[in-house]
């Protein structure tokens, strides 16, 4: 067990994956000498050579399409998309090729591709550098989607994602790269909780607060603040956005009877809608009030100085908690 940043944990995850399996290789823009713009691949090209830590031409579709070809040849490419907003040129290859190849070849061709995406806002970045595109991938059958919230999960889930025979879109919250935590690099990956499971980060009785990624910390802060006002919040870190571990989530909601989902991505047809609908399907008779979403607005990501108005903060989550506790529910219903 040692203390390290999430960035370092990811770096270690990649290092050990490269060391353990000669078929693993990294691809991306500026991941070689520079070590990636976030230094997640720092030192790896030096250690494993330019054939295994591959600086590619500046073209995301090209990166993803050649990764598909490498997977055809039996490799396990780990692709870095430099920033969330630059994944779209690769969208066609991800949605039509990466996600569907196993199905269309009746399981003959595997696509063990991990797509790492430095993700979401809160770091004052320039336009197109703070996007939350996870719902697109959750909606895409054939992909698995992971979003990590702490160094240990970052390490463990990344190793598991690379080892997984399915394609995994792996979201790394940029604003947690420098956050430190204890990491056990020696965990037996087979013993570790599989990346598909959610985690109850904090137990509570009154409200289930579901979230993922960097919002886990804000959710925990909200839970502490709510405790002071006498509301006991159970916080769940989904970790896996597809599939979602509804056993864990539903068990919690059956206990609390109330649920708030919070994420930074836009609301309309976002991951929150999926979670709430599934919870409603599974726990309708346990629900004591309407589930509540606290999300980014349905706007393009705003200029950096205004991002705090967009990313749900402690107050907006507490307002959501208030609403789910029925303090304002009539207002909501009348309004619409």
């Amino acid at each position: 067990m040692s203390t390290m940043t999430m960035g370092k944990a990811l770096n270690e995850g990649l290092r050990r994956a490269l060391a353990d399996d000669p078929k693993v290789l990294l691809m991306g823009e500026d991941i070689g000498k520079l070590g990636g713009v976030f230094r997640i691949t720092d030192g790896l090209q030096n250690e494993f050579g330019a054939d295994r830590v591959v600086d590619t031409p500046l073209a995301e579709s090209g990166i993803m399409g050649t990764a598909v070809g490498l997977a055809f040849r039996g490799f396990r490419p780990v692709v870095e998309i430099q920033f969330d907003g630059f994944v779209y040129p690769a969208f066609d290859q991800i949605v039509c090729q990466v996600a569907k190849q196993h199905y269309r070849t009746r399981g003959n061709v595997k696509m063990p591709i991990t797509i790492r995406i430095p993700w979401a806002g809160g770091v004052g970045a320039a336009e197109f550098h703070s996007e939350s595109p996870e719902a697109y991938f959750v909606h895409t059958s054939g992909l698995r989607v992971i979003a990590v919230s702490n160094p240990q999960d970052a390490y463990t889930c990344l190793r598991q994602a690379i080892a997984c025979d399915d394609p995994v879109v792996f979201f790394e919250p940029k604003r947690l790269y420098h956050t430190k935590g204890d990491v056990d690099l020696e965990t037996d990956l087979a013993d570790a909780a599989p990346m598909g499971l959610a985690r109850v980060v904090r137990e509570g009785r009154d409200v289930t607060l579901v979230t993922y990624g960097a919002m886990v910390r804000t959710a925990l802060d909200a839970a502490v603040a709510a405790e002071d006002e006498g509301v006991s919040i159970e916080v769940i870190d989904l970790r896996s956005l597809s599939p979602v571990d509804y056993r864990t989530v539903s068990a919690s909601v059956r206990k609390t009877g109330r649920v708030v989902v919070t994420h930074e991505a836009a609301r309309e047809a976002g991951v929150g809608a999926e979670i709430i609908t599934s919870i409603t399907e599974q726990c309708f008779h346990y629900l004591e009030s309407a589930p509540v979403r606290v999300t980014g607005h349905d706007i393009p990501y705003p200029p950096a100085k205004l991002e705090n108005l967009h990313i749900p903060d402690l107050d907006r989550i507490l307002d959501g908690v208030d609403r789910v506790m029925d303090h304002h529910h009539t207002a909501t219903e009348v309004r619409s």
Binding site: G69, F72, T105, P243, V244
Partner: protein, 374 residues
């Protein structure tokens, strides 16, 4: 410096400025580059080329017929393009790996596909019937151009494995406009990847003439990316075979990618859903009929006594038998079990989909129970 084998054609639709070894009347002609690559070809190999072109044509005719009879959902005829498909494919080793579009029937014939492989997916029963690793051919690509990047990636894998196989990407003239195809050339050049690009310029992308995709011959583009290219008569099977050997000499020697533009013609409609009379003259089609790839090759082989009536008859019989097998495979294509739609979405268990599958099974069961009760 840029090394190029382009000719001085000045439009993308030009059909005269090409390298060739067999003229349209069946005469053997010379080409300074290609001759060497066709020099050692045996009579047996010539007959094999002829046979596979004949089988390809027969399979194609049967495919169209089956579609017209309602047995297939769709068919994309390759008539007229047998030479480029069979010629290039025959230059390959069986361990080379091929990525094709939906129209490369002749490549499948040359790689030894089974009768069912030609029809079951067009019938709509399966997306793919064969294991790509058995034929070393990927499931045909529908998304225009996407496979070119797969071929480059595969070639990068070959490099990393230290082997001397090649990857091949087949695509059409229309495909050259896609970003992916251009990125494929860029990646291939950057990584010196052992990949051969084979562009079948059949003059049309559905209703769009090649002149809409390009002002200059398509083969002119590759050299700008640092990839040598060759513009070959796509209706000359020997020329296509030799061009592919030229390309493979480069890839196998570690010199990197090569590009072939085969100038040919789509004799039929784009697919059985298409009506080409809306956009092209019958006169153009007739002109190309006179450049038929099989006729010209047959003339040559007969003239050189490589084949005779007996051989031609035996190939025809074999082709008819294959067509009959194909028909049989179509008519008796096994229907997948309903729950089969859930198979192979993931390679590993997936709680969400596994639940859905279970629920759908229960739903179907309930249905059967109801029916039983009635």
């Amino acid at each position: 410096m840029t090394y190029t084998q382009t000719t001085d054609a000045d439009t993308a639709s030009d059909v005269d400025h090409v390298a060739r070894l067999i003229a349209s009347d069946g005469r053997r002609v010379n080409d300074p580059t290609l001759d060497a690559f066709a020099a050692e070809i045996t009579a047996e190999e010539l007959r094999a080329l002829y046979r596979d072109m004949m089988l390809t044509r027969r399979v194609d005719i049967e495919g169209v017929a089956l579609q017209r009879q309602g047995q297939l959902g769709l068919w994309a005829p390759c008539r007229g393009q047998e030479a480029v498909q069979v010629g290039t494919a025959h230059a390959l080793r069986s361990d080379d790996f091929v990525f094709t579009s939906y129209r490369e029937l002749g490549v499948f014939v040359s790689r030894g596909a089974k009768a069912a492989d030609y029809v079951v997916s067009w019938r709509g029963e399966e997306h793919s019937t064969f294991n790509p690793y058995d034929l070393n051919v990927a499931t045909p690509q529908i998304i225009i151009g996407a496979q070119t990047l797969h071929a480059v990636g595969y070639a990068m894998g070959i490099q990393r494995d230290g082997s001397d196989e090649s990857a091949v990407a087949y695509f059409g003239d229309g495909a050259t406009s896609q970003g992916d195809v251009n990125e494929a050339m860029i990646f291939a050049a950057s990584f010196t990847a052992p990949v051969v690009f084979v562009c079948s310029n059949n003059q049309w992308a559905i209703s769009e003439p090649v002149g809409l995709q390009a002002r200059h011959p398509l083969s002119d583009r590759a050299p700008g990316f640092g990839i040598p290219s060759m513009r070959v008569d796509g209706n000359d099977v020997l020329g296509c075979f030799a061009a592919m050997r030229w390309a493979l000499q480069r890839t196998r020697s570690g010199a990197g990618p090569a590009y072939i533009e085969a100038v040919t013609y789509r004799m039929g409609p784009h697919t059985t859903s298409d009506d080409p009379t809306r956009y092209r003259d019958s006169e153009e089609v007739e002109r190309w009929a006179r450049r038929d790839p099989i006729d010209r090759f047959e003339s040559l082989l007969r003239a050189e006594a490589v084949i005779d009536d007996g051989f031609v008859a035996s190939v025809s019989a074999e082709a008819d038998a294959l067509a009959a097998d194909m028909r049989n495979a179509a008519l008796h294509a096994p229907r997948r079990a309903p729950l089969g739609v859930f198979d192979h979405v993931y390679a590993e268990p997936h709680s969400g989909l596994d639940d859905q599958r279970r629920q759908f099974a229960e739903y179907l069961d309930g249905f059967e129970t109801e029916e039983a009760q009635q």
